[in-house]
């Protein structure tokens, strides 16, 4: 268990995102994410009928849930909360049973083929501990992503959530995510899964 006086969160202002996918790329480079897997990615959809059409964007990552289903189901306690409530996987402990992947409501986890263990976003804790921002935040060209300590009222994330309406994904599941969105479209928040397509 890490420092509990802090609560690290990410606030994503969707009004500013231009879906350049720079966050996806820098995350892969920073964390050595294997081909075919993502720790963060950006989803897109079109909504409306011409001429009233909107492009919806949704940057995705582990929601670092306060009540994390992945942590609850891990049989060996390899998934735990590190500094600031960041949900991380102990690579030395994980047995690769995939139960956490099944339990995650946000599709945030995968088995890393190189290590055989569960893998996911860490909020770039190695950078945060060195006083830097997560790679996706520091690379975002439109300043759409913000990172900080929600328990510090002066932090930029606290100020943003104080002055704006915000949403989380799948609030119905009671996971209490640490990723907040400003301007999240309801279609994307709860995912209208009626529209399904097969691929591959």
């Amino acid at each position: 268990m890490g420092d509990t006086t802090k609560r690290y969160v990410m606030v994503i202002d969707l009004r500013k995102c231009v879906t350049c996918h720079a966050c996806t790329v820098v995350c892969k480079a920073e964390n050595g994410v294997p081909a075919g897997f993502f720790r963060t990615w950006v989803e897109e959809a079109d909504m409306g009928i011409y001429p009233n059409v909107t492009r919806i964007k949704l940057p995705r990552l582990c929601n670092h849930c306060t009540n994390a289903p992945c942590e609850n189901v891990c049989p060996v306690k390899a998934t735990y909360k590190a500094e600031g409530g960041v949900v991380v996987v102990d690579e030395e402990k994980c047995i690769g049973c995939r139960y956490c992947i099944a339990a995650c409501p946000y599709d945030a986890r995968y088995i890393n083929p190189e290590t055989g263990t569960a893998d996911k976003c860490t909020f770039c804790l190695h950078r945060v501990e060195a006083g830097l921002e997560p790679a996706c935040v520091s690379t975002c060209i439109s300043h759409s992503r913000y990172f900080g300590d929600l328990n510090d009222p002066e932090s930029v994330v606290s100020q943003l959530l104080r002055t704006n309406d915000f949403q989380v994904m799948r609030s119905d599941l009671g996971t209490a995510p640490s990723v907040f969105y400003i301007g999240l479209n309801e279609h994307m928040a709860s995912k209208n899964v009626h529209v399904l397509r097969g691929r591959r």
């Binding site: 079109d46 409306g48 690769g96 995968y110 709860s190």
Partner: protein, 338 residues
Amino acid sequence: MESFVPLWYVQHEAPLPVLIAVYLFLAGISAGLFLISTSSTVFGWQKVKPLARPAAAMALAFMVPAPLALLIDLGKPMRFINLFINFNPTSAISWGTWILALYGLTAVVYTYLLWRGEKAARTWGAAGSLFAVGLAVYTGMLLALVTARPLWNSALIPVLFVVSALASGIALATIAARWAPRLTAMPAEAGELLHTLKTWLIGAEVVMLSLHFLLLAAGNAAGQATVAHFLAGPRQATFLWVQVVLGLLLPLVLLLVPSVRHSDTLASLPAVLSIVGVFFLRYNFVVGGGEVPLTSHLVNHSAAPASEWIITGALIALGLVLVAAVPAALRRFVASKA
């Protein structure tokens, strides 16, 4: 109405692979057979007493390949020992690890004592029955605890898994009695003795599955997407046609037809069909259930590599070989100790 067109999504992998379904299938058969054995030795159903020994031996046989499937599936197989060192009370796998281990241990002792004809078998059988039910229950709870997936997140699932485990155990006993009575020592009347119970179990499966899917269809978008995926989507063939029609409804009808019941050649057909049905129940729920996307608009990818199917075949074959080998080995072992 607003139109919504998904443009760019990541396709995720279905979380649980075929081998997990195989584990649930084999463990279920073992638990089912064990309970058939103890229904006379512990619970006093004297009519099925002749089945007690062979059923216990068969339960042991399937105890071997079941955990192997789990072990092979782990990303880090050699770390399985961590399961015994770290216990997480909120994880079904943590409970399952100990249930499986204790079930295996008690099943070995019980079977040995039973074949030797010792009275202590009853006590071990009682403990083993508890673990056998626990084994079937936890495999259902494993899925039911995943709150994000409506197909899994239901208290009906553990019950369905216990009922289908029993049904598959009975089916296997029936098949053994018909096709390998000598090797397995299963008396010829096994199928007939368990006929009524089996019919009720399959009937219960039909009812539970129907109720579950009705509730899903009446539920939220994720539940409706699950129903669409299973009834009209990519899982239609393995769910609707193989699991439900071929593996559930057809055997139920056949069990109710008196001429089939008394026919020498056809009597074991419902058993064969229902065992196929139980395999596909596990397969569809574990793999197919994981295909329904949670956040993507693309169906989760689940195509298993050929190696996984080869291992599946090998594990089932190992179970069948042991079914033939264990009774003889037990007989010899007991005789040598006498």
